[in-house]
Amino acid sequence: MSVFCIAGFVLSGCSVKNSNAIKGEEVAVLTFAPNVPPPITRDYATKMIVNLEVIEKEMEMMDGVKYNFWTFGGQVPGKFIRVREGDLVEFHLKNDPSNKLPHNIDLHAVTGPGGGAVSTFTAPGHETQFSFTAINPGLFIYHCATAPVGMHIANGMYGLILVEPRGGLPKVDKEFYVVQGDFYTKGSYGESGEQPFNMEKALDEKPDYVVFNGKVGALTGDNALKAKVGETVRLFVGNGGPGLTSSFHVIGEIFDNVYPEGGSTQNHNVQTTLIPPGGSAITEFKLQVPGNFILVDHAIFRAFNKGALGILKVDGPENKTIYSGQQDDRIYQPEGGAVQTMPSADAEKAKPLTKTEKLELGKALFASTCQACHQADGKGIEKAFPPLYKSDYFAANPQKIVQVITHGLSGPITVNGKTFNSVMPKQTLSDNQVASVATYVLNNFGNKGGEINAEDVAKIRK
């Protein structure tokens, strides 16, 4: 037996003999995201008292957008709970007297009916208590499970509880707490004012907001996570859902270690890890170079259009071998410097177009043919592509636009006082198409108007 004890000690850093004995008691330190309570250093199990209060309150979903959140502790996600494998957890759920609704809690770390939900169904102004032994180590979601369950979760009632394995997790320099959630509001993304919950969108699983830590911008700007080059970072990541699975990714980093689904196995060298609603993952990575590393749900419209974006700001010395930064930027000319012909569009002999028709067709042609270089705002790019915006190049003679489109242009020119020396290939467009796009340019980008006809184009083309 003593041999086993020693083996156990070496492998997991704790004594097998004492593993199940509960010694003493502690009141758990709980933290708001993105902070994590300190690692547990004791090598024995204890009675851990957890006090969590349910608070319903109005907060901002993004600046100017108000939402009635239901929370564990007063923020979304709820407070982070950290206990040790084998601990006897005495859980107190308090429902604030000013709350409208009864609530309960299902902790996925609990072995027992409802994960504690049965035992914690609590009326406003009441407190319930139950106890459980944290048998399985891992990172677990907790959430409210009162009917209608989906709505309680959709309003923000979730958080993470970490059951540290005996012996603890490997030491790292920084630990952070991030939980993704999706929200369903009456107005669409960004619509300001008070935004009530929209049940129809929730049933369709079509959220207006997908955010980290309960708010658009909870992890950007001044709220960005901060670390230094050389440090190892651990992210405790959860997904409260209720609807969407997260493709969790940190742009510019590779996870050295991932504990998929918050369990005990480790995967290495991972780009993106899946986190289902009601699930979690632990990711770890060493910071090698400075810069902003962006946390996203790589279902990428959620990141850039619905809010699932956070920033890890890393300070420290550059390491040009690992990442050089931009070394050059030069003009790329795939087919040499001569005037070129673009692939032919079907030449059309069409009836003359009205000015309105030209503007409409010209807009589409501009987007597909011109915009890549001259830019959507017509301002071009300095030293490379001349501006069409308030351009003095063709102000006196609008026909010059037609000349350039039909014949191409190379060599130095001056536009609005700036010199350009580059190449524009001749565009193979029909007379009507050239007339349309030229008319569009003349009537947009601050230019003074005018109209080009297909006959003008035909003459210049010869």
Binding site: S98, P113, A123, M199
Partner: protein
């Protein structure tokens, strides 16, 4: 009081066949106010804050009152809350009335401003749901501050929860998601696949609220009104 014409009511936790027939009845137009309740305790001193028996009302009983007979004048016209089921029942009996049954309350409460039964009106349901998602106001508005419904009754939604006589006859287990596996569907209001209308979230919440309380509980947003 206002007359509520009877009708059929199908609880959200049951099937079509389990409809309940509700006879016509009269209902108080407003919830009972602090001022109303003060008159009651003056004539029934057993129900004063200081003398009520703990098995009939927990220690939050009339918490918003400063003493047995005093409270902030501003709440005189607000609904009385922090009131137990026992106290509410006694109050109604002493008026020659009674607490509404859940089915009666639900029949009266499904009326919007213009319709006797607005339970399929998305706008009405969303309005009710919006109120339910907001925390209780620090100072409750006076009775009559919400809308007058089809029957001429105020405040069934938008002010406070209200006790019903049989509030605990439909139960959630506390583990609402498990309710569909119970065979006694009459006793599971928690919101499950067995429900008639799984999208009537406001109704789920009322049943969840009723299931979370016991008869002696006194809750800060739970009041009552009487019927006969």
């Amino acid at each position: 009081m206002a007359l509520i014409s009877g009708g059929n009511y199908i609880p959200m936790y049951s099937k079509e066949a389990q409809k309940i027939t509700v006879s016509s009845f009269y209902m108080d137009v407003y919830p009972v106010t602090n001022a109303d309740y003060l008159a009651f305790v003056k004539s029934h001193p057993d129900w004063k804050k200081s003398s009520v028996k703990r098995i009939f009302a927990d220690s939050n009983y009339l918490k918003q009152w400063d003493s047995d007979v005093l409270f902030d004048k501003n709440i005189a016209g607000s609904p009385v809350v922090n009131i137990s089921w026992f106290a509410a029942k006694k109050y109604c009996e002493c008026q020659g009335k009674r607490l509404p049954e859940t089915a009666e309350w639900e029949v009266a409460a499904r009326a919007s401003k213009t319709k006797a039964d607005a339970s399929n009106d998305p706008g009405f349901n969303q309005w009710v749901l919006n109120w339910l998602t907001k925390p209780t106001a620090a100072i409750l508005p006076p009775v009559g501050s919400t809308f007058k419904n089809y029957y001429g009754i105020y405040d069934l939604h938008g002010l406070v929860w209200e006790w019903t006589y049989d509030f605990n006859s439909a139960l959630t287990t506390g583990e609402s998601r498990g309710n569909s596996s119970l065979d006694n569907s009459l006793f599971c209001g928690g919101g499950s696949f067995a429900s008639k209308d799984i999208s009537n979230y406001a109704s789920f919440m009322r049943f969840a609220m009723r299931s979370s309380v016991k008869a002696k509980y006194c809750v800060a947003n739970l009041g009552f009104r009487c019927v006969k």
